[in-house]
Symmetry: C2
Subunit: 348 residues, 2 copies
């Protein structure tokens, strides 16, 4: 959605990274390489968050893209920062099928003759710093907006809530993965909401609407829509993470199982008699394709994919219901309804 509208965001990001790279050249080749890696980390996503900012802004009659573009950029860079630090936390060296910042810096260190352990330490350093730089620019893009004090306070409040709640969600997510105690489906959903739905859907939609001067009732409705659709999106993500087609999604269907990720699939299965057949394989770092097939069969047998899919559709449907208020502009309602549909029918 909104491929054309987010062109302004691409241009702005391109300008930002070009300036940063030039500035970094005063501090040596490695720092330039760090900015190159950060630039690359910010690409290749679906630009969902900028599109939501712009859809809400335009939907409520906003016309000044010199204001909406930096807000869209802010939420995209916040996303970039979170992905980068998430990869450090998970010890991942790739993202979207390509070497991520740690992956690039590990290779760079080995090229320079470093030993493996040193290379890893150096690569984590680069990734932690890159995340800090992206996070800083996310704040800066909003802070520099030429709006009045009240508007700035509201936008910064949305960003602050996004950071605060996402950190809570990330901590809970890692706690859950480490603890291995099966969660209830409600606990899974709360973690998805905190870790992803607020910063990815609620906050960008509300920021666009606030900037356009939308009525409070509409901002509340967008918040509710955002939380619900964010949950639906993540439920589908977790489903595709085990049952998707890797050729289409570009993601391994082993990673979530190997990590022992606590998804709705797992929460459902843990309350069935198939659980003893599934549990031993979760979090098994060297899980084979054949073992994963077995786990998938057991998950199917106990109805886990149907449950997760039905749940995602229920959340998407409730999200669409949240748009049923006369203060919601028709064009925006149509766009967001399409988004809700695609959230649960997508194959990637």
């Amino acid at each position: 959605m909104h491929e054309i509208k987010t062109l302004g965001v691409e241009t702005e990001l391109h300008r930002f990274f070009a300036a940063a790279r030039l500035r970094a050249s005063d501090y040596g080749d490695h720092y330039v390489a760090l900015w190159d890696a950060l630039d690359q980390a910010s690409r290749g996503g679906k630009r969902v968050r900028p599109a939501l900012v712009l859809a809400a802004y335009d939907g409520f009659g906003g016309t000044d893209h010199a204001l909406s573009t930096p807000v869209a950029v802010s939420f995209e860079l916040l996303h970039t920062a979170f992905l980068i630090h998430d990869d450090v936390i998970d010890g991942d060296l790739s993202r979207r099928g390509m070497a991520n910042i740690s992956g690039r810096f590990t290779a760079r260190a080995l090229e320079y003759g470093a030993r493996t352990l040193q290379a890893e330490a150096w690569a984590s350093t680069a990734a932690i710093l890159a995340g800090d730089l992206a996070l800083s620019e996310a704040h800066r893009a909003l802070a520099l907006l030429p709006v009045d004090t009240e508007m700035r306070g509201r936008l910064l409040g949305l960003l602050d809530r996004a950071v605060f709640v996402s950190a809570a969600g990330e901590l809970a997510d890692v706690t859950n993965t480490v603890s291995r105690v099966p969660l209830t489906i409600d606990q899974v959903i709360t973690t998805l909401e905190h870790k992803t739905a607020i910063y990815s859907f609620e906050a960008p939609l509300q920021a666009g609407a606030v900037l356009a001067g939308a009525p409070e009732e509409a901002i509340d409705a967008l918040g509710l829509f955002g939380r619900l659709i964010g949950i639906a999106f993540q439920l589908t993500d977790d489903l595709l993470g085990v049952f998707g087609d890797p050729e289409t999604t570009g993601k391994s269907v082993l990673a979530d199982l190997r990590e022992g990720k606590q998804t709705a699939l797992i929460a459902h299965a843990s309350a069935t008699d198939r659980w003893p057949l599934i549990a031993p394989f979760l979090g098994k770092h060297d899980l084979t394709e054949a073992e994963a097939d077995q786990v998938r069969n057991h998950l199917r047998d106990c109805g886990a994919p149907e449950t997760a899919d039905a749940l995602a559709r229920e959340y998407a449907s409730r999200a669409v219901d949240a748009l049923e208020t006369p203060v919601m502009p028709d064009v925006l309602r149509v766009t967001l309804t399409q988004l809700a549909l695609s959230a649960v029918t997508r194959r990637k």
Copy 2:
């Protein structure tokens, strides 16, 4: 210095953490524990950066502490964020003689029955997130300041430079430690300047002065003073890190040697005939007290501590010279001259 003036900063930080802790209680005990750990991480320092903001602001006739306090808080939280992420990068579990965030969360994980590797992963997660939260609030404190667009742009520019240059310095510092190729003294000084002097001295002084409406000439002079005194401070720090009294400094005199930290001491020694006797012990993770004594003797024999001390005094002296401009208020010049003296005569 300025113990009384920074009381407002303590009050403000206390208020911020109390509010965050309350808010975190909606997201579970671990998140409250994370905020407790972040609160503790922000304590126990010398509050040098807030004191510099306030000294410069007051020195140029600023009187509105409702403006200067948030700026001072911003630089203190920036410092907290950098220390936290620095500890993650170095794999340290303590700071200032107490368990740091990773240390506290490692203990917490073990209490909850986690295995060691899991505990470490969980603890790094907590520390990375805590740094992100502190960094976010550093930005937010400045962004919310009720000043005009031009003033906000200037203050945000100083914060942006501080983040940008510090990240370059941190990357260089870790690169140097990993690479083990001895540096020249000039290279050591450049790294100190980038990693610490800009964000700790230049930026806080300039921010206070800018906020008070100081003339450009004074802001430039404070920038130069800040870079030079920052270097002097760090040279002394590195000297105390090997030759200090641990009872007074509260710091181990083994840590820098074990880490293989590239200091002016090491840079000096690497160009003398004592180097072959010193090099094998640098970066030796299990360096004993007796071996450290040997290294200290060799460093003394080749005049390393005298060189580092003389260099620190030279930078402090050049810093004081930078204050010799008629636009510098007398009270501020006296305060900063005392600071310059204490930078190189301190024992902790």
